[in-house]
């Protein structure tokens, strides 16, 4: 975060002469981003026409591919595999330098040498979700039927679809049961979907800052973001790729609005307050006088460098549709009936996007199913974003949960992790 602030200040200094300034154009070209879509800097699992992905909307997606990263070694028993599920704007580059942005992996605080999820002990897998734009098949990929970018021709996907695709990847890797499935936010939704749909394949589940369904408020924020994308004249009904352009203004606004929901009033106040950006007095213009404005503009412009606008529409939609209870006759506990998976649920006090009450509802359902569950609410003012930040109490809990599960699983050597 500190790095981000330094960079945004640098951006602002560069742009000061411009007077009234909108969101800057991306520094990384669309070509660099779209290259990753079809030729990712990752391992790729291809699934041919004989192995279609059956989607909830009724379409069989075929052929399709999944881009994924792995860290560490699969043990002889094939019992130490950990699947990391990424959030809305994440990707498979969980613990390595990002090929487009050059930034560190998005969860290097949790995953990596000496971290709670250490490649020394676990075989760690992280795949780009179906519908994503970093190498797994999504709206930015080429539709083999037309030879053109899918765009809005791509079928609408759901969280269960993402997980179904992940099961095919896990099968391909020769893994029957995952030692752990771990994820936060949309990644947490995938964790819960794994346990509800494939309980026998998940030994332990670490679900962070998530919910079993997307709330009305969250759907509302997603709709705001989607409308911002669609209102950009460069969007062209989703077929911008054919014209070699990208609706980066609309997508940046969507990201700015969403980013506010990832923080908290207290965190914004602490970090920025009403402080001015490199100036003493207001400019009496719509320039980014306030640091918080500058920060948001930076968040918006850096996001569009690496993310596809249509992909953002599809993935937010997938989250909106998510409701585990609805898939089980409206009774959440039925989704987890008789489950043997060990759960650890974590929430953060200042997270108003996925508040503790959502985690508590999940825990009550797990209790009603007599599942083995740990539930910790961690005190922080950093909002939803806390799960990606350096929060030692969260790491202690994650480490202890995985060590305890490892003991039950008969994994040796993860004690010193």
């Amino acid at each position: 975060m500190q790095v981000a602030i330094k960079r945004l200040i640098a951006n602002e200094v560069d742009g000061q002469m411009g007077g009234v300034k909108s969101i800057p154009s991306p520094a990384i070209s669309a070509d660099e981003r779209s290259h990753e879509v079809d030729h990712p800097s990752s391992q790729v699992a291809h699934f041919g026409t004989e192995q279609p992905l059956r989607l909830d909307c009724g379409v069989d997606l075929s052929p399709f591919q999944i881009a994924y990263q792995t860290y560490g070694e699969l043990n002889a028993d094939r019992s130490n595999a950990v699947l990391i599920c990424h959030a809305l704007t994440g990707d498979q580059h969980v613990a390595n330098v990002h090929p487009v942005t050059g930034k560190p992996g998005w969860w290097e605080t949790l995953v990596g040498p000496g971290r709670p999820i250490d490649p020394k002990h676990y075989f760690i897998i992280c795949s780009n979700v179906i519908g994503g734009c970093m190498g797994s098949t999504g709206p930015a990929s080429i539709n083999p039927a037309t030879g053109k970018v899918w765009g809005l021709e791509f079928p609408v996907i759901t969280i269960p679809d993402m997980v179904r695709a992940q099961t095919m990847l896990i099968d391909r890797l020769g893994i029957d049961t995952l030692f752990a499935v771990v994820g936060g936010s949309m990644g947490g939704m995938q964790v819960l979907q794994w346990t509800a749909a494939y309980p026998g394949r998940v030994f332990s589940a670490l679900a962070i800052a998530c919910a079993t369904r997307h709330s009305a408020q969250n759907i509302a924020f997603h709709e705001l973001g989607r409308q911002a994308v669609m209102a950009d004249p460069d969007w062209h009904g989703g077929s911008y790729a054919d014209r070699g352009i990208h609706p980066h203004r609309g997508l940046a606004v969507a990201r700015m609005a969403a980013h506010i929901t990832y923080l908290s009033d207290a965190a914004l106040h602490r970090k920025f307050g009403r402080r001015m950006q490199d100036r003493e007095l207001p400019t009496f213009s719509f320039d980014a006088d306030f640091q918080v404005e500058s920060y948001l503009r930076y968040q918006g412009s850096s996001f569009v460098e690496r993310f596809d606008a249509n992909s953002y529409l599809y993935l937010t939609r997938a989250m909106d549709y998510f409701d585990i209870a609805a898939d089980h006759g409206g009774v959440l506990a039925k989704a987890f009936a008789g489950i043997a998976t060990r759960f650890c649920v974590v929430s953060f006090t200042s997270d108003w996007l996925f508040p503790t009450s959502e985690s508590r509802a999940l825990v009550h359902a797990l209790n009603a199913s007599s599942a083995r569950v740990s539930f910790a609410e961690i005190e922080t003012d950093r909002g939803h974003d806390a799960f990606l930040l350096d929060v030692p109490e969260f790491f202690d809990i994650s480490r202890a949960f995985l060590q305890s599960a490892g003991k039950a699983r008969g994994l040796t050597g993860n004690k010193d992790g």
């Binding site: 083995r372 609410e377 305890s404």
Partner: protein, 220 residues
């Protein structure tokens, strides 16, 4: 009155007993190895850890966030929750034993909590500080102030313990709601069991705390 029985404190390795609380050791002795246990008000998980060493599948509920997080950081299956409001979420017969250790007096509705314990668990183990203990009586009688002890140091205005009872009171409640007392032990100030051949009023006078193993029905 039901059967009184002092439990043997054997079965623990030499030196092991020193690191655990007397009532925890007593509770652990009452739980059959291999069973499934819910510890309501599990604090920092000391009892759960003790049970784990005996191959018992233990789960916990704790009110304080700090307590919960310390438990979870020990790898224990503990959730944040309130004995008064969250026991309703558990199905009938979910556990072999439900333990309420030194927590009954802090609940808003001890009777409802007790009924829930024996709905969720086939057996319940309840321990509580005995307000009939002679030191307590003496403080009120002679000192004229609300009793405070080493184990209950809080003043009347900041204590979380809102429903104190004596052993006699508790036995009466068990009779009223048709709860069977399978075993009962009173511990003196030093954590030693009060001899079983003494009458109830002696227990009520010299027991600093009491531990009861309860089951459903047929108590009368």
């Amino acid at each position: 009155m039901s059967v009184q029985e002092v439990l043997p404190l054997g079965g623990l390795a030499a030196g092991q007993s020193g690191q655990f609380r007397a009532d925890h050791l007593l509770v652990a002795e009452m739980v059959k190895p291999g069973s499934k246990v819910l510890d309501v008000g599990c604090g920092e998980g000391d009892l759960l850890q003790l049970l784990e060493t005996r191959g018992i599948d233990g789960r916990g509920i704790e009110l304080s966030r700090e307590g919960v997080n310390r438990c979870v950081a020990k790898g224990l299956a503990v959730v944040q929750g309130d004995a008064d409001t969250d026991l309703v979420n558990y199905p009938d017969d979910a556990f072999d034993y439900v333990i309420l250790s030194q927590t009954l007096q802090a609940t808003r509705q001890p009777r409802v909590v007790l009924e829930n314990l024996l709905r969720i668990g086939r057996r319940a183990i309840v321990s509580f500080p005995n307000f009939g203990f002679w030191k307590m009586r003496l403080q009120l009688l002679i000192g004229g102030h609300m009793p405070r002890t080493e184990n209950l140091p809080a003043t009347w205005y900041d204590t979380a313990n809102i429903h104190f009872c004596t052993i006699k009171d508790f036995v009466q409640l068990c009779d009223e709601i048709n709860v069977k007392m399978e075993r009962s032990v009173a511990l003196d100030l030093y954590g030693r069991p009060v001899p079983l051949n003494l009458p109830w009023w002696v227990w009520n006078m010299f027991g600093e705390q009491a531990v009861f193993l309860l089951s459903r029905g047929g108590g009368k």
